[in-house]
Symmetry: C2
């Protein structure tokens, strides 16, 4: 999660995502984003003529694509292929972050949803798209792991739901307990859905 070589525009989107997932959308200022990205403040209105809403939407979209990409990498890196292992890898990314970086930051898509679902329609739509963008490759991965097609979408939604909720609880409690719990309880269920060998 390091970003420094890219252009100022990309750095600002990346920084926006980072600040949003820490403080929420409303508490994240544009001047702050520029400073965090070490980008000139004058470039904000140049790259983002749509204002803060555009910047936030792009940050949310970036986060969705990032999550989607990771699914593929987790699937490829699985020791033994099983849905429970994939879910454990997704959860593990968060337990690792919380244990090494602290509980300061959560999911930027969740933050955008909570802060903008009723106040900025385009941002709400961006968050919806981000979740969909995350769900699709996850469902494909489940299919590859032997889950019958008609359930892959539902199970992917369940996995994302449980993960997002556990992230919330973990941050509130400053304890990864909720994350390890959902991984442990959901894993067997997911594996129980496998009917074919890939």
């Amino acid at each position: 999660m390091a970003g420094s070589e890219r252009g100022p525009r990309e750095r600002m989107v990346f920084s926006a995502a980072q600040l949003i997932r820490r403080d929420g959308v409303a508490a994240t200022g544009m001047r702050e984003v520029a400073a965090h990205a070490r980008a000139p403040r004058g470039s904000l209105q140049y790259y983002f003529p749509g204002g803060k809403e555009q910047l936030v939407n792009e940050a949310v979209g970036w986060a969705g694509r990032y999550a989607a990409d990771r699914v593929g990498r987790f699937l490829a890196g699985l020791a033994e292929p099983a849905p429970s292992g994939l879910f454990a890898a997704m959860v593990g990314q968060w337990t690792d972050e919380f244990q090494t970086q602290g509980f300061g930051s959560g999911c930027p898509v969740a933050a955008a949803t909570v802060d903008c679902a009723d106040s900025a329609e385009s941002t709400r739509a961006a968050a919806g798209a981000a979740f969909a963008c995350w769900n699709a490759p996850l469902a494909r991965a489940l299919a590859e792991l032997g889950v019958p097609e008609q359930r892959t979408g539902s199970l992917a939604t369940l996995m994302i739901s449980a993960l997002e909720g556990a992230i919330l609880i973990a941050r509130a409690e400053r304890d990864i307990r909720a994350l390890t719990t959902v991984a442990r309880e959901l894993g067997p269920l997911l594996d129980g859905c496998v009917t074919e060998r890939a």
Copy 2:
């Protein structure tokens, strides 16, 4: 969810919870809370000398107690006692709200967590307490439904996680699909944990 007969202080806490769950903590102003509660603005500093943080914390605490109370009512009103039915009732409360009131508002505890976990330690603690306050009666209810003691806490956490995550997705997509999905997929798993008859 109507509050009008109580005193101004309670009305302000209640209004704060409503506004927070709609717009998030940062976007909710104190003047707005007073206006929404039809309470005098001058009373804010009188009832909440701790400022906005105190008001937010009390709203979060109220929400946690409200959720905990509902678990008992759901359990009592269950047609046939099973964990899946309890979970369906919890989910149903949200599908009902979304379908009748729209997707404008989510969970206030989630909003407080997202907005304050890294910026207001006391609010983060209040959110953690709210989740714990919700988890306890839910775990007890599962025990009463025949789930062995050592798993009740874990399953309660899984239920709350999945519900909170599905609320997020539903708001982002403006579709209750995620909620019905988690209820359908998680129900059988929950029932499968029942070993004793109550």
